[in-house]
Symmetry: C2
Subunit: 319 residues, 2 copies
């Protein structure tokens, strides 16, 4: 990012692009975890695109092509989950570094295929190219709306509880390559009408929560003492972060962030019986209160320190 | 491609991947210009993915980001046309080289947006990343089936005429960056029930025709004297090719190759009244006859010399 006149921020670039594209006819357009197309006589189609690149989202020489292929599909399944959608299939575009052996390509495909089978999300087609480029895998996944239709980032209301579907932080220790996209959890929540708004935590709670808040037109307060910290946080780079800081800023947790009304006990028990636990992390507030972190009774602004894909850095991923 | 045991050929890699993914539930699965998903209570959804990369599909420092963005969408519209589909929208994943100015990104978006407007194919969403990588643009486009449903590469029959929608060759002189995807032409053909099989010519007639023939289980004979040669062929690299060789092998023509019954005069006139001209280039034969080129009464095998995306070369594009 060399244009000093523009904010050094992925969201500003994306917002600029959305404005340049102009009005759209979709049920849900750019700017959410998924888009949704109205289709005559049928449910909407939910679609999402995520690209993973060697050196940014994985390190090929460390993880190998199978893990890279698998992650490429998993991150998209996580977006479908955020929309409360049921996976239908995916398209994939691959750029292979020149000289890639056929066997490495086959293992990449195997990684995608195993995730495709496990999550009932088969490959519909794609495109393969060779270039003087790092391994790049672009996936567009399709889904059909789940029991609540298309769940978006909009819809959170002041007074809502903010919860996550699992502990956060330390994903870089390895979990980011082979996580469980919360497809099943999202559908369990949607069957009970729980989510007012939902998104997946890919860039860290401190960067993703403001996105949900902005789309919903609300503020939010994170209760530092409540945030569930993953055991990986203790052994993850970079050193010098407290466990809570890992949980707030690391990113690639791929848990769902859910805004919802306080859960009735019966609902909580029914969800737990299905293995779905919502960990409360805070509350939705009026927009004017901004995004705040409360620790030990003291509130401070919660500044985004997760990964920024345009700046190509975040204190979490690349210190 | 370093594994000498495998054929040095894009199609072999793709076929291997399709086999590894296993059975699929789609109306049309991997291996055609587009895939098609059955949707309950609605038309199928037609989807296609094409990735363009700096140094392979365009040279950024020569063409600029606007042309790159535009081409990324046009090549996908060309695939929708090949399926006789009506564009609905697209998703885009972008990898920007580190240090890309915001202004270059905006121009890339403008290039896509102008094509999106012209072809009524709005952006539904996407993903932006920065990496130590050449500019890479992955587009997945959606469409609804046109008047003949989903037209595929299968369906050509011995005795069919093979036609193209415009002259071939020399696209590298510049046309490959700003061509007219044959969406309108495809729909005009489909309204009259013309295509038995159809595909777009992206890798050159000599490489693409065998793909259509293989999917249809037929052979084909190209009449060298009939092939319409584009005026650009005379001024396109590499030197030393005859105009006919340019037309057969260069690739990136993005005209449609159509297998169809001989046209009734009334149909031909009606098409021409809409500005759609089918140029006959040959005939579909029995599979056993292979893919042949007939020039001046002498037949020879027509060897693929178009661009191979896995080998990363073709005598057309990178001599």
């Amino acid at each position: 990012v060399t244009d000093g006149a523009e904010p050094d921020d992925e969201d500003a670039w994306v917002a600029g692009a959305v404005a340049r594209f102009g009005p759209h006819p979709f049920l849900v357009g750019p700017g959410d975890d998924c888009a949704a197309l109205r289709l005559e006589g049928a449910d909407a189609l939910v679609v999402t695109t995520d690209v993973v690149v060697d050196g940014v989202h994985f390190v090929l020489r460390e993880c190998g092509p199978e893990a890279a292929g698998r992650k490429a599909l998993l991150v998209n399944l996580s977006d479908l989950a955020a929309a409360g959608a049921v996976p239908l299939g995916f398209e994939v575009g691959v750029v292979l570094p020149r000289g890639t052996p056929r066997e490495a390509f086959d293992r990449l495909v195997d990684g995608m295929a195993s995730a495709a089978t496990r999550w009932s999300c088969p490959c519909a087609g794609g495109d393969v190219n060779v270039a003087d480029a790092p391994l790049t895998i672009a996936v567009t996944a399709f889904g059909r709306p789940g029991p609540m239709g298309v769940v978006t980032r909009a819809g959170a209301r002041a007074g809502d509880v903010l919860s996550v579907t699992g502990p956060l932080g330390g994903s870089l220790a390895g979990r980011h390559l082979d996580f469980v996209p919360r497809v099943r959890e999202a559908l369990a929540l949607a069957r009970r009408g729980v989510p007012h708004a939902m998104m997946d935590l890919s860039d860290g709670l401190s960067r993703d929560l403001p996105r949900l808040a902005r789309r919903s037109g609300v503020g939010a307060e994170v209760a530092g003492d409540l945030v569930p910290v993953h055991a990986d946080a203790a052994r993850a780079p970079p050193p010098g972060r407290t466990p809570l800081e890992h949980a707030l800023h690391d990113g690639e947790d791929f848990e769902l962030l859910v805004a919802h009304a306080p859960l009735a006990d019966a609902t909580r028990r029914a969800l737990e019986a299905e293995g779905v636990v919502l960990h409360e992390v805070g509350r939705v507030t009026e927009a004017a209160r901004g995004i705040r972190l409360v620790v030990g009774g003291a509130a401070e602004p919660l500044a985004p320190r997760g990964f920024d894909h345009v700046a190509g850095r975040g204190r979490g991923r690349q210190p």
